[in-house]
């Protein structure tokens, strides 16, 4: 990439950041998200990973079903494990699955959208039929079916979420690519003898990347919530306990009848906070990428 | 001016957007006597539509309006909400631009024409309202069956006729026509102008006609007022102003539209370079000086006031 293009890109980034900083909801979302990302990264410093092992917990002499007043900070569960440790380490899995699944979603959606919009013709028709078909199929039942067929493993969950949630991204990106394609400069680039790859990389991608970013940020909440639901329904990875998995275990082992609120509140609040943070950031980015929306705010 | 139906005194309108004050109209005064007609000309952004909407107080909430608007003997800016609603569409009605979304897409045009009638109780019942809708549609040259149509089923010219019929629904005294011929093709434009002309005679309407097309205004109105950057810069009898403008801006506008629907004139350079100033950021002195072919040092110190430039004429230019 030429230095002019790089400069232009840096200028765009700083303009977006300036606008983003002006948005209260965006900054709140970013702050909340940073707290959780820091927690996920610093998990080993915050809680001993061995606390997740019931054998270790037993040997430590942890009580069973202890409320936070007895076993700070967040009490223990039915097999004496620290809920705090589960919360801290669960944030890693939930965030990782949410982000990785979103990357996959956006990757599939963008590739389908760009190819479909750019190539057009028969390819477009076929791609869009497939996309429509995926859109009509109820997405959670499909994810459930795929997950039960593939088995309980983090990578399968990521794959399942990615494969079920790309269609709306594909449609959005395709529409944007078509608009960009109409614009004069693409024709000009083509007439100068530029190849398809060059046009996509230098003209289409820079123009749709803002939209893709906003869309990606709004796709993370869906990924995280889907992972949570799948885990809750017993499709989570037993060896990588996410927040959803914690909720499942709490539910299955009767935390509710015991009113063991310390067991199921933290994980749910964590999901709520992260999902809300991504939603706030995504809406702000969307307003920046599509100024027509901000008028109505 | 006791026989004025509409009298505006020192009207200023300021929009507030994102903490910035944007003056759209700056100290405008004008009068239209009963049965008279005034054409208000100017480029888009000069404040003419803002002025039109302020007469029935249709500006967005939070807009600052000062001055006086007297319509049909009523002080519009001082009216209570109920009093204001009573004045709307009966004392003054607006013919909106048909090309825009002035018609509700999910209601039949008949319902939309009849709506103000039942509201202001100008008809006894629904049947009477239906009869009157048919009568109005016929009057503007549309078949009665059009009452059952939805806006998207009509052509641009038909939509404009519906909007005229709608404005007549409650026999208003003042008719404000805001760009009623813009975006219509030439023949239809001429037909709509003729229709408005007929209606004005027939019903003794008072007309405030707004468009950027000086030739249309000169055809339709007795007097002309030219607006630039929120102020009236020239006013006088229509033909005289059109033919022999005192303000360089008037002359430029007149040169841009030599005759109604002259295709050639639309393509040819108007002789007026540059863009109109943004309302929030006016140049000092005469706001027209950056575009004026005759600008000189005297234009810079202060904004010129309107002064007499002939019989029943005035203009705001240092050269007058």
């Amino acid at each position: 990439m030429t230095s002019i293009a790089m400069q232009r890109r840096r200028a765009t980034a700083s303009r977006v950041w300036a606008q983003f900083r002006g948005s209260r909801q965006g900054m709140i979302g970013l702050a909340v998200l940073l707290v959780f990302v820091a927690m996920a990264l610093a998990a080993p410093l915050l809680a001993d990973v061995r606390e997740l092992n019931p054998v270790f917990a037993r040997a430590q002499g942890n009580p069973q079903w202890a409320p936070p007043s007895v076993f700070p900070p967040l009490g223990t569960d039915y097999i004496r494990r620290s809920v705090w440790a589960q919360f801290v380490w669960g944030s890693r899995v939930s965030l990782f699955v949410g982000l990785a699944a979103t990357v996959l979603t956006i990757l599939i959606g963008s590739v389908v959208g760009i190819v479909s919009g750019f190539v057009g013709g028969k390819v477009d028709a076929i791609f869009m039929r497939v996309t429509e078909w995926f859109l009509v199929i109820p997405f959670l039942p499909l994810a459930i079916v795929l997950a039960s067929v593939l088995g309980r493993n983090v990578w399968n969950i990521i794959f399942v979420i990615g494969i079920t949630s790309w269609p709306s991204t594909a449609r959005l990106v395709r529409a944007q690519v078509l608009t960009v394609k109409q614009r004069l400069f693409v024709d000009r680039a083509r007439s100068l003898g530029a190849g398809g790859g060059h046009i996509v990389a230098h003209h289409i991608l820079p123009n749709v990347s803002g939209l893709i970013l906003a869309n990606a940020t709004l796709a993370v909440p869906i990924s995280i919530l889907t992972e949570t639901t799948l885990s809750f329904l017993g499709l989570g990875d037993p060896s990588a306990a996410s927040w959803g998995k914690t909720l499942e275990e709490a539910f299955v082992n009767g935390a509710m009848a015991r009113n063991a609120w310390w067991y199921f509140l933290p994980a749910g609040l964590g999901i709520l906070a992260v999902v809300l943070a991504f939603t706030l950031i995504g809406r702000t980015l969307e307003e920046i990428a599509n100024p027509r929306l901000s008028r109505s705010r | 001016m006791s026989d004025a139906l509409l009298s505006i005194r020192d009207l200023s309108i300021t929009y507030h957007s994102q903490g910035r004050a944007v003056p759209a109209v700056r100290g405008v005064s004008l009068d239209i006597e009963k049965g008279g007609s005034l054409g208000l000309a100017g480029e888009s952004g000069c404040g003419k539509s803002t002025l039109a909407n302020s007469i029935l107080r249709l500006l967005p909430a939070g807009t600052e309006v000062t001055g006086q608007i007297t319509l049909d003997g009523k002080e519009v800016l001082g009216l209570s909400p109920g009093g204001l609603r009573a004045v709307r569409w009966t004392a003054g009605a607006i013919v909106f631009q048909g090309a825009l979304h002035a018609l509700n897409p999910v209601q039949t045009v008949g319902d939309q024409i009849a709506e103000p009638m039942s509201l202001h109780r100008t008809v006894a019942n629904d049947d009477a309202a239906k009869d009157r809708v048919v009568e109005l549609l016929r009057r503007v040259g549309l078949p009665a069956a059009r009452a059952e149509s939805y806006p998207h089923e009509l052509s641009g010219g038909q939509r404009q006729r519906v909007l005229i019929a709608m404005a007549l629904a409650c026999d208003p005294h003042l008719l404000i026509a805001d760009e009623p011929t813009t975006a219509l093709d030439l023949m239809v434009q001429a037909q709509v102008l003729a229709l408005l002309d007929d209606l004005k005679e027939e019903r003794n309407l008072t007309l405030l006609f707004i468009t950027h097309d000086l030739s249309v205004l000169t055809y339709a109105c007795e007097r002309l007022a030219v607006m630039y950057a929120g102020r009236i810069v020239e006013e006088g009898p229509a033909w005289e102003v059109f033919e022999n403008g005192s303000h360089p801006y008037t002359r430029a506008l007149a040169a841009a539209f030599p005759t109604i629907g002259d295709v050639g004139s639309r393509m040819a350079p108007s002789g007026l370079g540059g863009d109109p100033p943004t309302p929030g950021d006016l140049p000092g002195g005469c706001p027209f000086h950056p575009r004026c072919p005759l600008a000189h040092d005297a234009c810079l110190p202060a904004e010129p006031e309107l002064r007499i430039s002939g019989e029943a004429r005035s203009a705001a230019c240092v050269l007058v």
Binding site: - | Q97, L100, H101, N104
Partner: protein, 303 residues
Amino acid sequence: MLVFNFFLFRVVQTDPIGSLFRGRNVPQSTIDNLRVAFGLDQPIGTQFLYYLRETAQLNFGLSYQSRQPVWDEIVRAIPATLALVGISSILSAVIGTFGGIVAAWRRNTWKDHSITSSTMVFYSMPDFWLGMILLVLFAVVLGWFPVGGITTAGSNETGLARLIDQAYHMFLPALTLTLAYLGEYTLVTRSSLLDVMGEDYLTVARAKGLRDVRVRNRHAVPNALLPVVTLTAINFGFVLSGAIAVEAVYSWPGLGKATADAIRGPDLPMLQALFLLFSAAVIVFNLIADITYSWLDPRVEEI
């Protein structure tokens, strides 16, 4: 659709019969007999033809878990889910739309801010977690509502008393689904109405002398609700999906709980039939949305 459904379930590496008896001491001959009974010994092509014929006759085979015909079990579960999802869909659409109208009409006031932010909070929660909290709060701690099921255990009331008992049991799950799904209606209605509020025909309506309330109800809202109609149908699929986990939380004996139970099996014939049913329901509701839309919006040609 059918082809996809068939192959989706045949790529399973797990041996359903094997998993059914995993860890149990069952003679190989029994397993072989069962395999023949379920038709799993046939080549894949034969299995597919067989599957097509059976699906057309609503014969989805026997449930691996209960050994009952899958379709019978599903039919038994349909009314409970239909009642729960139907009521929740209607309530969330009505309340959510109303909230969106208020928020847009009073935009940037405290009303708008509180409506928008509270719906966003509900929107961001896992629906079943909201269900768990409501359950603990209102059923376990306060004891106002039953903890689950559809009727009080051991009671054999009939008629109206039974209906009231069922409604009483439905309150919490319906509240959960309603709260979880009204946020989307609020946000969509709000932005749609804000778009419409810039339209010229509203200025025209005000110029005619209409009261603000009437401008809103007669001109703004009918136009703003058009996208909401589409959302209602699309959302029906989501509420149906959301019902899977929520029904599990409240032991509500509907399709959702059947799905959750089938996952644990895994009871593949059951999952397969449920998936087909969910897809069919969503397609039907999309069709209903299209028809309603063309009926409401004169600009759309009749289909």
